[in-house]
Amino acid sequence: MRHVAVTGLHKAFGSHRVLTGVDLEVPAGSLTAILGPSGSGKTTLLRLLAGFERADAGTISIGDRLVDGPRVYVAPERRRIGYVPQEGSLFPHLTVAANVGFGLAARQRRGAKVANMLEAVGLGGFGRRYPHQLSGGQQQRVALARALAIEPTVVLLDEPFASLDAHLRASVRADVQEIFRRAGTTAVLVTHDQDEALSVADRVAALRDGKIVQYAAPEDLYSRPADAQLAGFIGEANLLDGVLAGGEVKTFLGRLQVDPAAAAALGPGHGDEVTVLVRPEQIDLGLGEDGIAAQVISFDYYGHDAVVYLRPEHHADGRVIIARVAGGTPVPAGSRVTLRTRGQVFAWPKGSSAES
């Protein structure tokens, strides 16, 4: 069952084309993240869904109702959409309770509804305060309660966690996820942070140049990205040249097993040149003689893990390999190590997309 359906959506501001044919179907009760670099049109897409802007072409339906299309345009106040903007946008002249009750009818405003909503976001008893008396995370949760109070058909969140401190972000994110799961809310979240998209959402839509490049579950997006450029945007990627050989691919890191989905897409083309994706955590470092010899260029330590930049010794094309290893003892720059690759790798026909 789909809940939000977008087809062929176009939007331009003057001569600047922001969305160039977006198609998206969000299943009911799911949390979808729209992931894209800044300027990719994420916020525009959200504003079109909310009805703050009107599409140039294409359609938007929410539930079973067409809200934007040829000769149809439903005003934002009649869409019943819960919108949580980036800065929270609480009404500064109203108390927390009045903010949450803003979208309710007068008699509902006085009932238990507001208190229940505040309870649900963990802010019971904060009703009489004013927005400026709350922390950033609390403001964000009030904004969420306000959006959920009108029992929206879908909730839209615009970079909801971007303005929060790193340590707050994780907890607010988890709270929000929990609230949505419990209420069975359909939600669309916009973000430029791939970690956030992958960890929070049921499905992630990658937006690039005004189009959705891929719409998939987080693990699919990460291990089976649509093209090499997307692979580089979603996490760090080693993109290598390779030649197909049966179910395997020959690269300078050795013969690697190709992911079945990629193999099916590539076909049996023996000897075809391909671009291979090896994620940094697929590369193990060793000190023995077994494996590809490489020299450590630099070592970035993060505590829980570390990223090592390496230059293979017998391949003079200057390519740097990135490996992610568990934290522990730093490996000094200049040390010699050996590389081994594990797991299946993904591959595309060479030159199938702009490589980054």
Binding site: T7, G51, T59, E77, Y83, P85, S89
Partner: protein
């Protein structure tokens, strides 16, 4: 939640035809209406000039009198504007950036002269000392009366300027003096220019103070020609005066046009440590005391002196009734005009703040043309036109005076309303709409609520200006009615200083209330930004 209502409707050719986006039709209509009303005086003036005969008007302009008026007006404008720029900037810097003792008290005292009508300042000086006459008198009186117009914007800009720029300049090897000239003054340049523009426009429009010190400018001449029923002559002189004002406006725009001051976001707000004055604090304190004594002490003291001088007649029953009566009319006209101007400014400000587009920009700019129309010209144009072409409709009624005030002070209201709407961001409106509220409801429950304090400030600004207005009031006041300003003027013209004095004092008190509210508003918004 039925599925399948959308049967794969990919975008077709027909679908790619541009869809109508929402245009703020109501706002645009209202704004055009306001702009049209504001343009009336200029239109009237041009119609009158044609009616008087182009040749006649040209001959009247070519008189030697025009030349001498031009010389009088220009030299006074240049000297007073420069003096105000120096005094206003220097006092603002001392109050905002140094360790001058009693800075908070000075910050108030230095601004209070703004609440004293220029003609009361003129009365103060001229009634006490006969040498305060002619050019010298006009320079002293006008400088002391209007320098706060430079002080206020410069102080605000120094308060919100980024102190980091000065620190960076110092770290790059620029000395204290060089840093002050190149960075501090550079940051305040826009504010200084803006203040000077206001001063110049006030000088071009001033009537009462010049009449008292016996200095002849375009405005005084237009007024007396009009009173002698020489309409063609007042029309001709008005055209020159309007041209002069527009030249000042255009000149300021050209100077300001180059370079922009970038302000740091609210996060970057810091205040710089105050400059130590050291031994220099004593002469500076003496100068401040002298300034306040001259600008505030002399007019208030003179009014009090004359009132005490004639205490018995001033307190006699008849005078008191007329004082109350005049105060009531002043408040009524000022209040109605302020409400009218503020309400009229809302659609124009909403359009300017919330929507972009060349036509909307033009619309907003066009309303500033009123700044170039001195009050005497607006009043003259309105009264003459209604008398001649509208069969005297509205002439002699208070309506014409109120409309005249509202037109004259519309730019003040617009500045205030625009600033207040900036506190009500569009994102909150969208938020309210997505929560199911319709546009009119959003306007009442969110936009105007947030803009409320600023709207009050805009109202006060217009009210204050209307209370202390003399020229248009004298021309348009309904027969048999008196305001504080006109009654003061009547007594002053008869040299009945002791009877004029109470009216001056009450006027200062009436004007002080909105000034105090305004002061609080600006202080608070400065803190909110800080």
């Amino acid at each position: 939640m039925a599925t399948g209502t959308l049967t794969g409707s990919r975008s077709t050719k027909a679908d790619l035809a541009p869809r109508r986006t929402h245009r703020p039709v109501a706002l645009l209509t209202l704004s055009w209406l306001v702009a049209a009303v504001l343009a009336l005086p200029l239109v009237f003036l041009l119609i009158e000039a044609r009616g008087a005969g182009v040749l006649d008007v040209a001959r009247l302009i070519a008189r030697p009198l025009t030349g001498s008026l031009l010389w009088n007006t220009v030299r006074l404008t240049v000297v007073v504007t420069l003096a105000c720029a120096v005094i206003g900037t220097a006092t603002a810097w001392c109050v905002e950036r140094t360790d001058l003792p009693g800075r908070r008290a000075w910050a108030v005292l230095v601004v209070v002269p703004l609440a004293i009508p220029d003609f009361v300042v003129g009365f103060g000086w001229n009634s006490l000392w006969t040498w305060a006459h002619g050019f010298l008198g006009a320079v002293i009186v006008m400088t002391l009366a209007v320098y706060p117009l430079v002080y206020l914007p410069v102080a605000a800009s120094l308060r919100s300027a980024d102190p980091g720029q000065e620190e960076v300049a110092r770290s790059l090897g620029s000395g204290q003096v060089r840093t002050f000239v190149r960075i501090t003054l550079g940051q305040a340049k826009g504010a200084i220019l803006g203040g000077c523009l206001l001063v110049a426009l006030v000088l071009l429009a001033e009537y009462g103070a010049f009449e008292i010190v016996g200095y002849q400018t375009f405005t005084t001449e237009i007024y007396s020609e009009f009173n002698n029923y020489s309409f063609a002559a007042s029309c001709a002189l008005s055209l020159v005066l309007v041209l002069l004002s527009l030249l000042v406006l255009a000149g300021e725009g050209m100077v300001r046009g180059r370079g922009r001051v970038t302000r740091p976001g609210p996060m970057a707000q810091r205040t710089s440590p105050p400059q130590r004055l050291g031994w220099a604090r004593w002469p500076v304190l003496a100068l401040f005391a002298a300034l306040v004594l001259l600008a505030l002490g002399v007019p208030v003291g003179a009014a009090a002196y004359w009132m005490a001088d004639g205490l018995p007649p001033a307190l006699s029953g008849g005078a008191n009734v007329s004082l109350l009566d005049a105060a009531g009319h002043t408040a009524l006209y000022g209040g109605t005009a302020a409400a009218l101007a503020t309400v009229a400014a809302i659609p124009v400000a909403l359009l300017a703040v919330r929507h972009s587009g060349r036509m909307r920009h033009f619309l907003e700019r066009s309303t500033y043309l009123v700044l170039g129309m001195p009050g005497v010209v607006i009043a003259f144009a309105l009264s003459y036109f209604t008398e001649r072409y509208a069969a005297g409709f509205g002439y002699g009624s208070s309506m014409l005076l109120i409309v005249c005030y509202a037109i004259m002070f519309f730019p003040l209201a617009l500045v205030g309303v625009k600033a207040s709407l900036a506190r009500a961001p569009a994102s909150l409106d969208e938020m309210a709409r997505s929560l199911g509220r319709r546009r009119p409801e959003v306007l009442c429950r969110v936009t105007l609520r947030l803009a409320g304090p600023g709207l009050v400030a805009a109202f006060c600004l217009v009210f204050l200006s209307a209370v202390t207005e003399l020229t248009a009031t004298l021309l348009l006041i309904p027969t048999g009615t008196q305001t504080l300003a006109t009654q003061f003027w009547a007594y002053e013209s008869n040299l009945s200083y002791s009877q004029a004095a109470p009216f001056a004092l009450v006027m200062i008190v009436v004007a002080a209330v909105p000034s105090a509210i305004l002061g609080r508003f600006f202080n608070r918004s400065a803190q909110a930004r800080g």
